[in-house]
């Protein structure tokens, strides 16, 4: 099941305006709407469901607390939430330490699948997909989750990730190609495993 938030900017603006004026119902609507994508974003980045939940809760508490202040989201609410989620993630892991990534060695080959490359990709289950994604660098994971997973625009993604548009463009290019290589290697291991 795919949870995909399609941008609906005018509705989002109205909702945000109501929330800023103190409409609690609007705050809860924003929560209902954005919790799933934020949670999914976090869940792909951390291996522990409880941790993803805690960080998601932190993101929305920050949002509620920020509503009245200067740091309140003004233009794109979605971008703001993802940016806070991203910051919370790096706070959580600390600036220096690496986010969890796995290596091919950790991965246990699963039942044989002799289909060609694309067939293989389409046959992937949650565990294998996550496993493959976590072998990417943090930034590569993020750009794929934001662009493919959450359908953020190039501009929004650049904003969330604090990068230039052209940097995001080449990052996403490298990310899909690296992921493709990882998946091919996985497939080979299954074939020979």
């Amino acid at each position: 099941m795919i949870v995909l938030v399609l941008p609906d900017i005018p509705a989002e603006d109205r909702l945000l305006a109501r929330a800023r004026q103190g409409d609690q119902q609007a705050v809860m609507e924003i929560y209902e709407y954005y919790f799933p994508p934020i949670y999914q974003f976090l869940r792909l980045r951390v291996s522990d469901a409880q941790m993803a939940e805690d960080i998601a809760s932190e993101v929305f508490l920050k949002f509620v607390n920020a509503l009245q202040g200067r740091s309140a989201p003004r233009k794109t609410l979605r971008g703001w939430l993802f940016r806070v989620a991203r910051n919370e993630l790096s706070n959580h892991y600390g600036k220096s330490s690496k986010m969890p990534t796995t290596t091919l060695d950790d991965w246990m080959p699963a039942p044989v699948d002799t289909d060609p490359e694309v067939q293989f990709m389409r046959s992937l289950n949650i565990e294998r997909s996550r496993h493959a994604l976590r072998m990417l660098s943090s930034e590569q994971q993020e750009v794929l989750v934001l662009r493919f997973g959450q359908a953020l625009s190039l501009e929004e993604t650049a904003d969330v990730m604090d990068k230039s548009i052209s940097a995001v463009k080449s990052l996403q290019f490298r990310a899909v190609n690296t992921l493709r290589q990882i998946l091919s290697q996985m497939r080979l291991e299954i074939d020979h495993g």
Binding site: L4, Q25, F35, Y39, N65, Q68, F148, A151, L154, F173
Partner: protein, 380 residues
């Protein structure tokens, strides 16, 4: 190099299109010369979506976090021009709570009516009132907390019975304002006749899924105190202890029981009168008595599903005709339009007893915390 930049742009265009809901094939046919390179890249990118957590996991996490956010919203986001803040009381409160209740006591401060820790919260407040002695402030603070809880329940759209005390600020037809809360008055609301503008009253009401507050009883504070002296006659504590119905969250309507299945009776009919029918919903849906239907007064133990099956109709029909939003939201004494009168009608409900059962909960079944409809305290 130039070719790679071109491929980057094309890839980017395809990601945008996928994000707008286009299919992968759509994009490949737009760039036939690149299709062979593009396909595995896009397929790899789409793997991201396959890595998503199952919906059930997301929904459960969302349930657990919702309450925290609603309470933060109720506290941080001023709902009215008057801002309510937990003030200087808080530090003293925290200290007392840790002494008396440990960490659970502090955690309970975030609970709402219907939550498991809510009893602890109320108990701890009583204790603080005792410790704080004659100070006026704690009672007001707790009254504010009660109102914040109600606001949180309304924001959540959770259906609970709540109680609060305040002044009648506005009486405009079926919509009143008491203690800053907008209150829907229905024909079933008791105590409406005697109430005056500006009077201090204790209100029991029900929050609904559509975020409205439906009044059940309105009792002037003075009347109740004359009739039923409060257990603590301390002159300052008159606001501290609320009678049981206002202080406790009542369980939702009982589940249908196997033994109670009224059978429709063709002999009994009733006449329709506008005042005797079901209450109009706040959304402007007005219940209209369909031809041949009767007015029925809900008895203790009745459920909408039980009444629906007893009168050969469906819950949905009853909800629609009676302008009800939530099948769980029926209370004994409330009047309902039914296709027929259920034959075995229990004795008529006792007249409403303002202020009855003070300090009790003893005569009522223990509040069962309504875990079934919030799921907020599930462990993983």
């Amino acid at each position: 190099m130039v070719e790679q930049e071109q491929l980057q742009d094309i890839l980017n265009d395809c990601i945008d299109r996928l994000g707008r809901g286009a299919s992968l094939e759509d994009c490949l046919t737009s760039y036939p010369a690149y299709a062979n390179d593009l396909r595995p890249m896009l397929e790899a990118g789409v793997v991201t979506r396959r890595a998503y957590a199952p919906v059930s996991e997301v929904v459960e996490a969302q349930e657990r976090v919702r309450l925290q956010i609603a309470q933060a919203a109720a506290q941080r986001v001023p709902a009215a021009p008057v801002s309510r803040r937990p003030g200087r009381l808080f530090a003293a409160l925290a200290a007392i709570l840790i002494m008396a209740f440990g960490v659970v006591g502090v955690l309970a401060q975030g609970s709402l009516p219907g939550d498991a820790l809510y009893g602890t919260k109320r108990l701890s407040e009583t204790l603080v009132n005792i410790v704080a002695g004659g100070s006026q402030s704690p009672e007001d603070q707790f009254a504010e907390r009660r109102l914040e809880e109600i606001e949180a329940l309304l924001a959540l759209g959770r259906s609970e019975t709540v109680g609060f005390r305040g002044e009648i600020e506005i009486m405009q037809g079926a919509i009143w304002r008491v203690a800053g809360l907008s209150l829907s008055i229905t024909p079933e609301t008791t105590g409406v006749e005697g109430s005056r503008l500006g009077e201090r009253v204790d209100v029991t009401a029900r929050t609904t899924a559509s975020s409205t507050l439906i009044a059940q009883t309105i009792i002037p504070v003075e009347t109740r105190e004359l009739a039923e002296p409060l257990p603590e006659p301390d002159e300052d504590s008159d606001e501290a202890v609320m009678p049981s119905p206002t202080a406790t969250t009542l369980p939702n309507s009982p589940e249908p029981s196997a033994t109670e299945t009224p059978v429709p009776s063709p002999t009994q009919t009733a006449t329709a009168s506008p005042a005797g029918g079901p209450s109009p919903s706040p959304e402007g849906c007005t219940p209209v008595l369909p031809p041949g239907w009767v007015i029925y007064t809900i008895q203790p133990g009745n459920t909408l599903s039980g009444l629906a099956s007893a009168t050969n109709t469906t819950i949905d029909d009853l909800l629609a005709v009676n302008c009800l939003e939530d099948a769980r939201f029926i209370v004994a004494g409330q009047r309902l339009y039914l296709p027929a009168q259920p034959a075995v009608q229990p004795p008529p409900p006792p007249p409403p007893q303002p202020g009855g059962n003070p300090g009790g909960g003893g005569s009522r079944p223990p509040a069962n915390n309504n875990d079934d409809d919030d799921g907020g305290d599930d462990d993983d």
